[in-house]
């Protein structure tokens, strides 16, 4: 009997409409391709066999000639009222995504949802293809409720997937192949349909069943799938007419990803979201990832080989080895998780697309990868940046087995956050406490924690403020628009001025009253004829009368005050001359500015070694008469 599409009618007592199933995933903040990789790999890991390495692959293919075969097999499609247009979707330029795993147990168990599974098997097939929202029965599995599979459908422009599996149970129904589609609920005459459709063999009782055994092999081959001729077990999921999403950027640059770009993005997503699975545990268990595009397959490199990920791997190894810092509580669960941190370099100038494409944060890492016992990254929690800008750090927080179920309660369907809102009791306490615990660990390790006691425990804030003055944060050019309240200069020692609060009736503050001359930008240290001078720029506004301006320069002592009396024999700075931008020179501390347009003047002062000086400009008289 040839396979064909079958549409699910609403049962008289009620059914789930297809729209609801896709919506159950919510609107994740993550890129849909990232969600796909996370969900699919999680399913594969939960289905791992006791022996061997799980192989997980994603293949991006442009259909090309293959479109004809698919059309032959899958058309006619479901009723057009259901918003599934396979005929339109299966074009030559359409893309399919094939997500596959091997050395997993495949989708086994009963073929029908109404049949009870044997004691030694799990009903994976009906959970993946027929049922919605069943609780996970995997101990410390990644998934919680089977909502994540919605991503397979929502990535398909036709809401259609094909599933080809070889289960570990053996027997005549070990090979299964079936299609499924989620569209809209629709009416045919007076009957209402849910919008769910299956493609398979329609049994005598008018229920669709998967294609089995040799027929499954034949069709699998015609679909161009890898098949299971090598005897291994696992699953291939084909997402028809996949939507690869858009490139990052602002319009109008945004365009659809090419197959190659999508493959790179998927590989990058695997690195950032599944790297813990690539680090073998003490039993050697891990996953191997391969991403292919149009026939060429490339293994995803070891995360340890990337500067950005290596510290995360180091931190995870610490946690696994039991060397992490335990998150201890006074009430049960008393031990709720472990934390470890490793340092890395901040300026690893990796521009490798594999890292950049799906990097979940900007800049150097100051993040903690949070994960449950299953070691699938939930998210990257941002901490304070490292106090040394040359360093990055990476942390891992992993829940304990005792607390795992409580953290699971806090996860949205996409498992990409821990949200304490809505939780109660121990779950709320554990989830909130874990966040505080991690932040506190980071503060302690970065030296940001509160200091106690007296001797030598002063914070570095004041020091860094003082040091900030000698870091040339603003160049002379950059100071064009920024007038400073007084003649502050962040330059060489001997010409700095940190007292921004000073100036009172003098200098810059008078600018606010308008019309007065004011210091502009930071004074500079200039060397002329082998001798250093301090030069401050003064902007003199336009005026209709001549004015006499006086400049003063004084040594600033600790605390920002003016030095009243210099130490014996110590040099004091003196104003030497005014000089206009045009070259006019006025010797001494005063200058007469003629009436006219706004003009720029430079005040020259002698240089004093090992001292901070401050310029002031005041208007002595206005020759109003």
């Amino acid at each position: 009997m040839n396979p064909r599409w079958w549409s699910q009618p609403f049962a008289p007592e009620g059914s789930a409409a297809a729209e609801g199933i896709v919506k159950q995933l919510g609107r994740p903040a993550l890129d849909p391709l990232t969600v796909l990789v996370r969900e699919a790999a999680q399913n594969s890991w939960d289905a791992r066999l006791p022996e061997g390495v799980v192989e997980f692959g994603v293949d991006v293919r442009v259909l090309g000639d293959h479109a004809d075969t698919l059309r032959e097999l899958l058309l006619p499609g479901p009723h057009s009222e259901s918003n599934i247009d396979l005929s339109k979707a299966l074009r030559r330029d359409a893309v399919v995504l094939v997500v596959s795993d091997r050395n997993t147990r495949g989708l086994g168990g009963p073929l029908r949802a109404s049949v009870r599974a044997h004691d030694d098997e799990t009903p994976d097939f009906v959970q993946f293809l027929r049922n919605v929202g069943e609780p996970s029965d995997h101990v410390f599995g990644g998934g919680t409720y089977g909502f994540g599979k919605g991503i397979f459908y929502s990535l398909s422009r036709a809401g259609t997937i094909l599933v080809d599996t070889h289960t570990a149970a053996g027997g005549p129904d070990a090979r299964r192949l079936m299609g499924a589609a989620l569209g809209h609920s629709w009416y045919l005459g007076k009957r209402r349909f849910t919008g769910r459709h299956w493609w398979g063999t329609i049994a005598d009782d008018e229920i669709p069943d998967p294609i089995l055994d040799a027929q499954a092999d034949t069709i699998s081959h015609r679909l161009g799938l890898l098949g299971f001729g090598d005897g291994r077990t696992g699953t291939d999921v084909v997402i028809l007419a996949a939507d690869l999403g858009g490139t990052v950027g602002s319009e109008p640059d945004v365009r659809e990803r090419t197959a190659e770009e999508a493959a790179t993005f998927i590989a990058s997503s695997i690195l950032w979201n599944l790297w813990p699975k690539m680090v073998p545990d003490q039993h050697g268990r891990h996953m191997r990832f391969v991403v292919g595009v149009n026939g060429s397959a490339v293994p995803v490199p070891d995360p340890q080989s990337f500067d950005e990920l290596a510290p995360f791997v180091d931190a995870l190894r610490e946690v696994r080895a039991g060397n992490g810092e335990p998150f201890s509580r006074t009430v049960r669960p008393k031990h709720a998780g472990n934390f470890a941190m490793a340092l890395g370099s901040a300026d690893s100038a990796t521009t490798r697309l594999l890292i950049d494409a799906a990097k979940p944060f900007e800049g150097p890492s100051h993040h903690v990868a949070r994960m449950r016992v299953a070691e699938l990254v939930v998210d990257y929690l941002a901490g304070p940046p490292h106090t040394d800008p040359r360093l990055a750090y990476a942390g891992v927080f992993k829940t304990s087995e005792d607390a795992d179920a409580l953290f699971a309660l806090a996860e949205p369907p996409t498992h990409d956050d821990w949200i304490s809102k809505g939780l109660t009791g121990a779950a709320r306490g554990v989830v909130q406490g874990a966040r505080t615990f991690v932040q506190k660990q980071l503060d302690e390790r970065l030296g940001l924690g509160p200091q106690s006691g007296g001797s030598g425990g002063q914070g570095l804030g004041q020091l860094s403020v003082l040091l900030a003055g000698i870091v040339p944060a603003r160049s002379h050019l950059g100071a064009k628009d920024g007038e400073s309240r007084d003649g502050a200069i962040g330059g060489a020692p001997g010409a700095t001025n940190t007292n921004r609060g000073g100036g009172g009736e003098h200098g810059g503050s008078s600018a606010r009253r308008g019309g007065r001359a004011r210091l502009h930008g930071n004074p500079e240290l200039l060397v002329h004829a082998g001798k250093p001078y301090l030069v401050a720029m003064v902007k003199v506004p336009a005026a209709e009368t001549a004015r006499v301006l006086a400049a003063d320069v004084e040594v600033v002592v600790e605390g920002g005050g003016r030095e009243s009396e210099p130490p014996l024999g110590a040099p004091v700075p003196q104003i030497m001359q005014w000089q206009s931008a045009a070259g006019t020179v006025a010797r001494g501390r005063t200058v007469t500015i003629p009436a006219g347009q706004e003009s720029d003047w430079y005040v020259y002062a002698t240089h004093v070694p090992d001292a901070v000086v401050r310029f002031k400009v005041i208007q002595e008289t206005s020759d109003a008469g």
Partner: protein, 250 residues
Amino acid sequence: MSELWPHLPAVVGATLYADIYAGRLREPRESHPEQTWAPVGGRVAPKHVRELIDAVSTVAREYRFPEAAGSDARVAFDRDAAKVIRAHLNLSWAEAGNRDLWSFLSLVALPHVTMWRFGPNNKERWIATDLTRHTWARLWWQAVVFAGHEHILAALSESDLNQLLERRSIGGDPRLVREMAGAVTELATNVSRRPVIRDVTARLRRYLAFLDVRALSDQQVRDICRALTSETVTRLTGRSGDSRERGLEP
């Protein structure tokens, strides 16, 4: 663990001081009915307050208490008493900064020795307003600042100490005070210290405008203090010297 000592509220202190100023000196006591305590911590037992009273009285007797004593004897008493005060008062720095605690010591526990040391006229010796001026607060802080370097403290006069400690930017940094004092006390005896400290302090204040000494090593602080002191002495004694030869240039 540090312990809490009683606090004497300022209004109560003012009343007690008025009595003392009027000539009604009280006996030393372990407590006062209106004393208060810092909210958290272990309180000192009355027995320990008595031990302090006895210990300070004993030291004072070595310097002729209760007889009138000369200024030299009283300064020498300060040096010895500082050790005793520091040893008996195991305070956190926060607690040691509480003025009411020091008022309790002078007005309730040690009025007799306070009277002997400074007399009744200077209120700030009795009621703590400036911790560098109060009879007992300044001794405690001196002992803390010069802990392990008591020989430097012993070599300083009262006026030297006041000059060094009165500026918070210098006095607030025990290491800087010690090194400054060390550099000054190393000087030849024919140099008057008062103008030296005054001038060196002025030099240091220029540096502190752009230098945070907490970032320096012990040796670097020592070098700066010595170089500044040497420059000052050179200028004071009239020997010509180019400031560029101070060895401070990088």
